[in-house]
């Protein structure tokens, strides 16, 4: 059992900045994320007390610079796995170990306050949906995400502008309230905010589902760049093409288990028409 993080402070600008060490400086041999024997079931007390199985024993490693794509039909447990790692779901059994500056951290046993402190800082979760104040502008949202991870104000605004331009979000939309943006526009803002000054591990849950082909291209290129800079990525995508382009490894799930794992060209060939 790895000892839990002690004395973790609420992130201030200074502490966040020091925590964001270059990913490549860390020990390459230690996986960024190490999942062992992860189980998850739900008890629906208000239905008839029934038990629903989510994950039935997951073992998985993600290393720096790796992009692991989770494939499988809906209900296979892909999102459940991401949420258990991020601890939006409470795992029922097993361990989730994250590499950190203070040594490995076992997330399932960590106190809530400490987990809240390292979320966003050491590992991030990018869902399909933009969750931000409806009356904030896109540039503001993305810049603030950067500031929260230790960037100074000027750098954050610049980086936010670069990211939004890259994702082809028209500059005229940068100051309007995010709530009036279209689904695709919101999703691009979400992606930019989730990936600016990225932590060592990113969990992506269908982050480009609402984008049309042209914008999807740009978004996938941005995600590809993440792994190039050493970020460890664990992602759920809808389409095979994205997985093919981005993944260093594809992990196929069914009924809460991993049934297959291997390089994209090998695995995806089997999944044609199945992993929709």
């Amino acid at each position: 059992m790895t000892p839990p993080l002690t004395d973790v402070e609420t992130p201030t600008q200074a502490t966040v900045a020091t925590a964001i060490t270059e990913h490549s400086e860390r020990d390459e041999n230690v996986p960024v994320l190490s999942v062992r024997g992860l189980h998850k079931h739900f008890v629906l007390h208000n239905v008839d007390g029934r038990r629903v199985e989510g994950l039935n024993g997951i073992d998985l490693d993600v290393r720096a610079g790796e992009h692991i794509a989770l494939a499988g039909s809906s209900g296979a447990g892909k999102s459940t796995l991401l949420k258990c790692i991020y601890r939006t779901y409470l795992p029922s059994a097993g361990t989730v170990t994250l590499r950190s500056p203070n040594g490995p951290v076992e997330l399932t046993g960590l106190a809530d306050a400490k987990l809240a402190a390292i979320r966003g800082r050491e590992f991030g979760y990018v869902s399909q949906f933009l969750r931000a104040e409806p009356r904030r502008g896109a540039l503001d949202i993305v810049a603030r995400a950067g500031i929260a991870r230790g960037m100074d104000r000027e750098t954050a605004i610049e980086a936010a502008a670069v990211a939004l331009r890259r994702l082809h979000l028209d500059e005229s939309l940068w100051d309007v309230f995010a709530s009036v943006l279209s689904g695709g526009e919101k999703q691009r803002v979400n992606l930019a905010a989730g990936t600016i000054s990225p932590p060592q591990l990113l969990l992506l849950d269908e982050p480009v589902s609402a984008l049309d082909p042209a914008n999807r291209e740009a978004a996938l290129a941005l995600i590809a760049d993440l792994t190039a800079t050493g970020v460890a990525v664990l992602a759920v995508f809808h389409d095979l093409d994205a997985m093919d382009r981005l993944a260093s490894r594809v992990v196929v799930m069914r009924s809460g288990r991993i049934i297959e794992s291997g390089p994209p060209d090998q695995v995806l060939h089997h999944l044609e028409g199945v992993a929709r």
Partner: protein
């Protein structure tokens, strides 16, 4: 009579309870880094007959907060939680859950029956609020602990202007320069989006949403490290509430203030807090990360509440 409990905080708290010469106030000289700014330990409040035996007959299992003989209400019992610096902590529950009781106990609006409320002061020392006199607690409310009430009339003087309500806190903190007071009041009201031309209007003439904004400006006047918000948007029209909620969230983020947000509204808790707890019939039913509580609630009551909110 205060019942003390020496249960240790699970988050690695290293405070030692050393009593200073003044034995009437409980102090603890603890290192402030990593310490929560607010630590509530087994807080309890009984209204009516102070009958500790009523505790066993109340709570979620009994389905009520009222004692069988009807002479006591165990409004809150065995409530414990921490709030870190700059963190927003939510207290969610239906009416009768005890959430407002907990808030008022911390605020000092009424006395408590049991437990401790440890607060980290600006100088780094920690003090149990429940051992302080009413005078001392009132002094804290000037610049260390602020409260925003559901009913703005409780937190404001309606017969005074918007600027005057903010000036009230500034002068209480010793501000004596009219120009500076006015400037700071204008700045705060501007930040809480009260139109400048209304700064000299009596608050009585303001709408509910505007009154809440003035309350916020006043609560933040002296930059307190902790603010308590009790149903801050309840009773406001939906569109107005959204704006006030927005404002609260950006203020909390920008100023790095620790907050306790009490609400029955899931949307409010979801938007403002990172961790929260669910109360029912005066007891804590479940506690955890806000997103986890809403997406993977464990307790049957929490599952019921979440399902109802999602419906």
């Amino acid at each position: 009579m205060t019942v003390y409990d020496t249960a240790r905080d699970t988050a690695g708290d290293t405070s030692s309870d050393t009593r200073l010469e003044d034995a009437t106030i409980a102090y603890s000289k603890a290192p402030s880094a990593g310490q929560p700014v607010l630590r509530v330990e087994r807080l309890g409040k009984i209204f009516g007959d102070q009958n500790l035996a009523a505790v066993a007959h109340t709570g979620p299992n009994a389905g009520t907060e009222k004692s069988p003989d009807g002479n006591s209400v165990v409004a809150a019992w065995d409530v414990s939680f921490n709030v870190a610096a700059g963190e927003a902590f939510g207290v969610i529950g239906e009416s009768g859950s005890g959430k407002s009781t907990v808030m008022r106990a911390i605020a000092g609006d009424h006395s408590s029956t049991a437990g401790s409320v440890w607060m980290q002061r600006r100088d780094g020392s920690t003090v149990d609020l429940l051992t302080m006199t009413a005078s001392e607690r009132r002094a804290l409310r000037v610049d260390e602990l602020s409260v925003v009430y559901q009913d703005a009339a409780e937190g404001l003087d309606l017969g005074v202007t918007a600027g005057g309500n903010v000036a009230d806190r500034l002068t209480a903190a010793g501000w004596r320069n009219f120009g500076q007071i006015r400037e700071r009041a204008a700045e705060l009201l501007g930040r809480t989006e009260v139109p400048l031309e209304r700064m000299d209007d009596l608050v009585r003439t303001f709408s509910g949403g505007m009154r809440q904004r003035v309350q916020l400006a006043r609560a933040l006047a002296n930059r307190p490290p902790i603010v308590l918000l009790d149903e801050p948007t309840t009773g406001l029209d939906a569109s107005v509430a959204a704006g006030v909620l927005d404002l609260i969230r950006s203020l909390l983020e920008e100023l790095g203030i620790a907050a306790v947000v009490v609400s029955h509204d899931f949307a409010v808790i979801e938007m403002l807090t990172t961790r929260c707890m669910v109360m029912q019939h005066g007891r804590v039913v479940e506690q955890g990360l806000t997103d986890q509580l809403f997406e993977d609630p464990q307790a049957p009551y929490t599952q019921r509440l979440v399902a109802a909110a999602r419906a």
